[in-house]
């Protein structure tokens, strides 16, 4: 009885007011970012009194600042964003907070506390997990090829730092670092260069599954053994297929936090308590559980 009352109140309160949500997305040219937007859109679409506006900053900090300023100026109730620069973005988000707009940061944080809630998977933790998994599998003197994402970006920084913090404890394991900017094409170019220069490695740790896809393309071309230890992050459709085929060892999910972001908005509307910072757990996908878990995109 009490529950029903609460539900009724909840529904009434949900439908009593129109809410505007602005999503200042970094870029839509990236599958993961697009998927993040789709997650938010899908979950918000269940609530008819909430309208969502998505702005594409085309990977430009100035555009994202301008987009957030647009939301502020037009009296949005919520701003969801994944800040491109943690310092510059904090300036504009401070304006939003001052104006009473709830700021939900998903997967990227800022340098100040000018936000309502910050939901993110822990890249450092994922990297550590990946490193421990690889260290377990590799015996003796081995070399790991680490493929990095965009230089200076938070995921890249944490996925490198977390990984290396584990590996440095194992002197037998050597790490070769190459950069492919989260892009298949760059990964292909990079991998061709590795083979051309006859650089030897025993396992691959890639900051993203998409870069591993590029790597496999080159391996196919050079007829290389694809059953070697290959660890990726994100868990995309290509990774699922590769894991089931045995062409990729594992992938760590990296949730978009879109669903969680929308859940926080609903909680705020319902005046429920929320956490300032929320870490989303990553799951390791192996050949055993891949069948039952849907990839991110």
């Amino acid at each position: 009885m009490k529950m029903i009352l609460i539900l009724v109140v909840l529904i009434i309160s949900l439908y009593s007011k129109e809410y505007k949500v602005g999503f200042a997305q970094d870029t839509l040219a990236n599958d993961w970012r697009l998927s993040q937007v789709n997650d938010v859109r899908n979950h918000i679409s269940k609530y008819k009194n909430i309208t969502l506006t998505v702005k594409n900053a085309q990977a430009s900090i100035s555009n994202q600042i301008a987009d957030i300023e647009y939301f502020i100026k037009n009296n949005y109730d919520f701003i969801i964003t994944s800040p491109i620069n943690e310092k510059i973005s904090s300036l504009v988000l401070k304006k939003a907070i001052k104006k009473g707009i709830k700021v939900i940061l998903i997967d990227r944080g800022i340098s100040t506390t000018d936000y309502t809630t910050f939901i993110t998977p822990d890249n450092n933790l994922i990297a550590k997990k990946a490193a421990n998994f690889m260290v377990d599998k590799l015996k003796g003197k081995k070399t790991i090829l680490m493929i990095e994402g965009i230089k200076g970006s938070t995921p890249t920084i944490h996925r490198t730092a977390g990984f290396l913090s584990v590996i440095e404890k194992y002197p037998n394991i050597k790490v070769i670092t190459r950069r492919a900017n989260f892009l298949r094409s760059d990964a292909i170019n990079m991998m061709e260069s590795i083979y051309d220069n006859n650089i030897k490695f025993d396992a691959i740790y890639s900051h993203s599954d998409s870069m591993l896809s590029g790597v496999r393309t080159v391996m196919d071309k050079y007829n290389k053994d694809k059953s070697i230890l290959m660890v990726g992050i994100d868990y995309i459709t290509e990774a699922k297929a590769a894991i089931l085929k045995g062409n990729q060892t594992v992938s760590f999910t990296y949730p978009t936090c879109g669903k969680e972001g929308v859940e926080v908005i609903i909680k705020i509307i319902n005046n429920q308590k929320i956490k300032k910072n929320k870490i989303i757990e990553s799951i390791m996908i192996t050949k055993d559980n891949a069948k039952n878990i849907a990839p991110i995109f």
Binding site: S60, I61, S62, I65, A66, E69, Y70, K87, I88, V92
Partner: protein, 751 residues
């Protein structure tokens, strides 16, 4: 007249055209110079408009480019970022400089290949952010940041002196200016950059005109132009005293009329003050050469003369054509119509126009039609008369007062052995085949003409060389005109030669018939005489025999003797009288006298008494004894006898069919006419015979009985001889209760 009209019209036209043109050209020439100056003014003004139009199109392009840049979202957002976040975050210059570089690249990409375009972007406080300067094909650009002294520096060089001269901007400057900088003149445009209606910065963009651009402005214009400043002169006109222009430019900054034109010995100048940018004055100097003006005026004069000549010729031709079409042609057609009318051709005039001429033509056509109708009626009656004259069964001719033939009909021509009337016109009788009688004919003609009296139906003979003589009945009448003057003579004659011969023959035949009739009558008479005489002779014979017998027997008494003698004497006298009657009849004296009709009829009946008695004919007489006639009694007697004999002969034929033969004779008087009616009951005359009864030698009787001349003679004697009338017809009537058919003869005679 036709030539005159054309000539007058043409001269009038030509004079009008020439006067018009001369007056026109006088005024026109007087205005030529002024006009040309005005035209020159208009021409340079038009050039000025063309130049400003071209500059405007450049300016529009620049404006479009500027609009494109300031409306670019990236430009907006970057300018916003720099304007609003940079100073507070100067610890993160890399990001800002990265964004500035993006901005420089973004705008450079939009400008693309336009090398003569420079630009700079300022933040909202008018601090420069980036610049791109183009000079002589080289591009100098940079992004601007602060050094430690908070001075603007070019981050490439670290120097502030490289920041270009034009990197100054006035607030609120938001339009295109034609301006100058150290490098020349061009278009400068400053535009504000807004993000969500919030001012975030400024764009200043400049297009420096290259030489080829300037040439593009001044090429293909009517006049030469220069852009003039205190430092340089650009364009295609350089023969100019800068000082002079500057001097005048202060006076003439805007040209509104021809009076604003400045002039020196060789040139007229228009000085347009175009624009001052940064307090620098720019003038557009247009000019035209006075020599060129003079030569143009000469050309204008020539052209004017040529135009006058050509327009004269053209208008002359047009006028001729116009007059030909609108006046001469209709007049010519009307004239032709009149000429045709003279020749008696009644053509309808057709005019395609709808003016007075067509009205005249319509009237003319109506008149022509009327005339044609009248003339054809005249012709008709003429030909009718001619036909009458030609077909009249008489000879007709007419002569003038000089006895020359004017015309004649066909019969006349035939007599003259000519075929066509034209052969006789103008000839005299001396030239014709009857020239031997010419004098007498001419005498007759002259008599008629001189006396003005007609000479009618006189008979004359005409003899020819071959001894043929013909008889003519001629009439001549004077021809008199309406003034009463004799103008000729009309003659009509008929050739009666044959007629006369026929008459002669008929006459002889009539005589013959009369003789025959008489002879026949005499035969009858003798029969009658014999019959009449029989009884007296018998009485005489009886008396004489009685005398003789009584004498012999001596019984003759004196009384008896006297009685016998008296009888003999009485009968002898009767015989004598009878002889007298016959003698009178036979003698046939044709003496017109007054006689008693009753006596005449009794006398006639006496002559046929024998027949009456012989055939037992009952006479029913009803006479008016007082009637007297002035005529030929003998002939009337003969008529009675003829009529009686016809009745008698009919009785003979009809003898068995009737019981009593009746002959009714009555006389009466109606007005001045005596009517004698003779009626029998002998059955009448068959109808098919009735119309022929007067014809000579027609008889129904046996040849031994009739001559066929009886009624013919009777008719002649009554109708022709005594001027009376005779009607013979069948009749039906009742007498004493009996019905009878017979013939009734009614004779009417004048008293």
């Amino acid at each position: 007249m036709r030539l005159n009209l054309r000539l007058k019209l043409l001269i009038l036209m030509a004079v009008t055209i020439v006067i018009t043109l001369l007056v026109n050209s006088y005024f026109h020439y007087n205005n030529v110079l002024q006009e040309y100056r005005k035209n020159a003014f208009i021409s340079t003004n038009n050039d000025y408009k063309t130049i400003t139009y071209k500059i405007n199109s450049f300016s529009q392009n620049l404006l479009n480019l500027s609009n494109q840049i300031v409306n670019d979202n990236n430009v907006k957002s970057i300018t916003n970022l720099i304007s609003n976040y940079e100073k507070k975050n100067d610890y993160n210059k890399i990001i800002f400089n990265y964004e500035k570089k993006r901005l420089l690249n973004l705008i450079s990409q939009q400008i693309k290949s336009k090398k003569n375009i420079s630009f700079a972007v300022f933040d909202k406080d008018l601090n420069p952010i980036i610049f791109n300067r183009s000079k002589d094909g080289k591009v100098l650009n940079g992004i601007i940041s602060y050094n430690k002294k908070a001075e603007f520096i070019n981050i490439k060089t670290g120097e502030s002196s490289d920041i270009p001269y034009f990197m100054s901007i006035k607030k609120n400057s938001d339009k295109v200016d034609i301006g100058l900088d150290k490098n020349g003149f061009g278009l400068v445009y400053a535009q504000k950059i807004y993000l969500d209606n919030k001012l975030v910065g400024y764009l200043r963009i400049k297009e420096v005109f290259t030489k080829s651009t300037i040439n593009l402005f001044v090429d293909n214009l009517n006049n030469k132009f220069s852009f003039l400043t205190k430092d340089f002169l650009l364009g295609n006109f350089f023969d100019i005293d800068k000082e002079y222009i500057k001097e005048h430019s202060t006076l003439v900054t805007d040209i509104h009329s021809i009076d604003d034109i400045a002039e020196n010995e060789r040139y007229s100048f228009h000085i347009h003050y175009i624009k001052a940018l940064d307090d620098e004055k720019l003038y557009l100097v247009s000019t035209f050469d006075k020599d060129k003006l003079d030569s143009k005026i000469d050309l204008l004069k020539k052209n004017l003369m040529l135009a006058i000549l050509i327009s004269f010729i053209i208008s002359f031709i047009i006028s001729i054509y116009f007059f030909k079409v609108t006046i001469l042609n209709p007049i010519s057609k009307l004239d032709n119509g009149i000429q045709n009318l003279k020749k008696q051709k009644y053509n309808i005039i057709k005019l395609d126009t709808n003016d007075e001429f067509s009205d005249i033509a319509d009237e003319f056509n109506i008149l022509t039609k009327n005339l044609k109708d009248s003339f054809s009626k005249i012709e008709e009656s003429k030909s009718f008369i001619k036909n009458i004259v030609d077909t009249a069964p008489v000879r007709v001719f007419w002569k003038d007062i000089d006895n020359k033939y004017l015309g004649a009909n066909k019969l006349f021509l035939h007599d003259a052995d000519l075929e066509d009337e034209s052969e006789i016109i103008g000839k005299t009788d001396w030239e014709l085949k009857w020239k031997s009688q010419a004098q007498s004919y001419i005498d007759d003609d002259n008599f008629v003409m001189n006396s003005k009296k007609e000479k009618l139906k006189f008979e004359e003979t005409q003899s020819f060389d071959n001894n043929i003589v013909i008889k003519l009945i001629t009439s001549k009448v004077p021809l008199i005109n309406k003034n009463g003057d004799v103008i000729g003579v009309l003659g009509i004659y008929d050739d009666v030669t044959e007629q006369r011969a026929m008459e002669q023959m008929l006459y002889q035949r009539e005589q013959q018939i009369a003789e025959q009739t008489k002879m026949a009558s005499m035969g009858e008479m003798i029969g009658n005489i014999a019959h009449q005489w029989r009884q007296p002779l018998s009485v005489i014979s009886t008396a004489s025999s009685g005398l003789q017998l009584e004498k012999e027997n001596d019984i003759l008494s004196d009384e008896q003797f006297n009685k016998y003698c008296e009888a003999i004497n009485r009968n002898a006298q009767y015989l004598s009288k009878t002889i007298d009657d016959f003698k009178n009849f036979i003698k046939g004296d044709r003496l017109k006298r007054v006689f008693n009709l009753s006596e005449n009829i009794h006398s006639s009946l006496n002559l046929v008494d024998g027949s009456i008695k012989k055939y037992d004919i009952n006479l029913i007489l009803n006479f008016d004894d007082k009637l007297e006639i002035d005529g030929y009694s003998n002939e009337l007697t003969q008529c009675f006898i003829n009529i009686f004999n016809n009745s008698k002969d009919a009785f003979i034929d009809y003898l068995d069919k009737i019981e009593s033969k009746l002959l009714f004779i009555s006389t009466s008087k109606v007005d001045d006419t005596v009517i004698i009616t003779i009626k029998d009951n002998a059955g009448g005359i068959p109808n098919d015979i009735l119309p022929k009864i007067y014809e000579p030698y027609f008889t129904t009787k046996h040849m031994s009985q009739g001559t066929g001349l009886g009624l013919h003679m009777t008719y002649n004697m009554i109708v022709d001889g005594m001027g009376g009338g005779i009607d013979i017809h069948n009749t039906s009537y009742e007498y004493q209760g009996e019905k009878y058919n017979g013939v009734e003869v009614i004779i009417s005679l004048p008293m």
